[in-house]
Symmetry: none
Subunit: 212 residues, 4 copies
DNA sequence: CATGAATGAGCCTTCATTCAT
DNA sequence: GATGAATGAAGGCTCATTCAT
């Protein structure tokens, strides 16, 4: 149901899907490079492989492109998280595996995350709301994961806080790459964050012993 | 030394200082509201209390305004952090006080933080570099604080990681307010983050006991 | 002979006739509402009940639609006037009846008249000429009517003038409805115009006596 | 108070006045030639003698230009009518003189009248209302003239009707020039209309005697 | 015959920047 | 030093028209 909120003059639904994927792909590249505002609709059309007229058959506004991009990013992240979090056997080990998978995913999607952070405010209030819901849903997934995997009980608020921390620490790996990626690889970053998380939960061996 | 990298046609240095402060104040309000790109130079001039012609006597480019704004934000944050971190008597308690002060500061400067996150990429590569240096310096202050205040030794990397975590958790309080500020007040957010930090360092009472 | 000057790729003459009638009907509605320039070809196609591709099988240019519309309006008005003016027994009474019928017709075709007044200039010079001929023919019909029905002789010029006056007074009923239709009904408007006409011709009872 | 409803970024009121007059002059020429819709803002700017940027300092919308044009036409016509109708000594003779002056005026302003007839519908509902008020005021002036100048009493409705007739007969001289101006000069047109008017009022010598 | 996706010229409008006063 | 009118490049978007299916 990708981008079902964006109207199109085209009738063929499959074509819409295909063209919009072209569009998103082209736009992501451009947004990464120059940001939403510095990218022109003509550039988007060109990068998507069609004319400006055709572009506007599939969207109504330049902002629609941004929405489509954001939506597709979330959709992708969500799908991957769901796959990684499927908790047949909820255990501490599963928690660690899932968090690792999440950090790995954030490593893969660095550019997309940067786009989200910088351009979301260019969406309409309504679209922002929509996108925030999706982000909220992802944090909730992390909360669920924690709840299911930790032996002792935590206050809801603490679960919520920790889920948030994990979530943004993952995003920051990409957003603050200029700082973090000088000192860490994604592997070592993941490793230490997990160790610190477990320590915080009173479950790990503590930071001192956790030799890298 | 506010914005010494930005050229002006005016000779009187004090006047420059005064005018630029007007400018920054006006611009921050506008950037908060509509972002850098959607704000026009005319609006900035008006909000600053002088004409568009005068505006351009004190800057060379619209981007200069953004730089001035970013620079002033960092200057302000840095000054406040320095005041709060002054470590005559480094102790665990001092660490806790300092971190609390930092979170409080981030609460005060929410809007400014949001501007930084969203508009930094609109600066020139050079200006971005400059601003990143300042951010790096702040993280370093946190690292120093940790190093000085924690009884046992931590690996440099872990210090760096934890400093980063604290730093961004503070920024996220403002940036993700739509999510966090529904569940927490700045007091409770600070409280739990500190508790979790200490637990992670193997120093607190753990999360279970730390009743809110 | 509807629109015989407009080319079509279709062979079947009857189909052309049918499709064009659909087109005219749809277009008139739209032109009334938003004028020729603000109406798109897509809208015309939709209102006509077929696709944009099909539309262009029956016309060559958007302007063709306007021409078809104008032509059909004149055809219709002309037919109705001919019916009303058929002068087996030319008499003053017949004149009055015919003029009344004309005003009634103009009342019915208000919207169409407005379209003619406002959009005719969007036709090509050539098409304008064609349409003006038709309008001229109608005025001539009125002239003939006057000539046949008035007992005494009038100078040709006066006949021409009076025919013109009647003609435009009819059109104005629709075109200036916002003014006239606040004060008059079509019945009272007709009534007074006829009285005034007869008075001008030295045939009526004068305006004073002609109680409404 | 010309065009006081149209906003401008320029502060100097006199400059606004001057520039707008340039604009109106340029626009009238273009609208005459190609109509409002087929005229581009760039053409208007060029014909006005300034750049497109400057044009938009004095208006907000292309439609504003049309409004300014319409308003100025009415203003001009109104002023001239007021001058011609000043009724120190209301008499039949004065009526005839005034009507003659009106027809002469309409002859002078043919192109402007055509513009009004064809483009008024392109104005916003609000602006149309405004412009219609002005037109109504002019008809009222004619009514007043009739009332003051005719010896015997006429019903209000008849006055209104006759005023309207005179008004549109004047406008039609320009709008239907392709027809009328083949048979008449403005002098002869005026002559016969006046004769017919007087006859209708039961005041002239009738049409038969009124040799041309 | 009918359809509708594709095209791109062209339009209106904005806004950073300059410079004469 | 301050002002604000002038500039024009550039951007978002529309829509008449075509043509392969």
């Amino acid at each position: 149901m990708n981008g079902s909120k964006v109207t199109s003059t085209i009738k063929d639904e499959q074509l819409i899907e295909r063209r919009r994927n072209q569009m998103i792909k082209g736009a992501v590249t451009l947004f990464k490079e120059k940001g939403f505002h510095r990218t022109t609709t003509r550039e988007i059309a060109k990068a998507s492989g069609f004319s400006i007229g055709t572009l506007y058959e599939y969207i109504r506004t330049k902002e629609d492109v941004l929405f489509l991009v954001c939506d597709s990013i979330y959709e992708k992240v969500k799908a991957r998280m769901e796959a990684a979090f499927s908790n047949e056997n909820a255990s501490l080990d599963h928690l660690v595996q899932a968090v690792r998978a999440y950090y790995l995913l954030m490593d893969e999607m660095q550019d997309e995350v940067v786009i989200m952070y910088q351009e979301m405010k260019s969406l309409s209030k309504e679209a922002q709301e929509y996108v925030m819901q999706k982000e909220k849903a992802m944090v909730t997934m992390l909360e669920q994961l924690l709840e299911d995997s930790i032996p002792h009980r935590l206050k809801q608020r603490d679960i919520s806080l920790i889920a948030n921390n994990i979530f943004i620490q993952g995003q920051m790996w990409g957003f603050r790459r200029w700082m973090l990626q000088k000192e860490f690889t994604i592997a070592s970053y993941t490793e230490r964050q997990v160790a610190f998380l477990l320590a915080g939960l009173g479950l790990g061996d503590g930071l001192r012993a956790a030799g890298c």
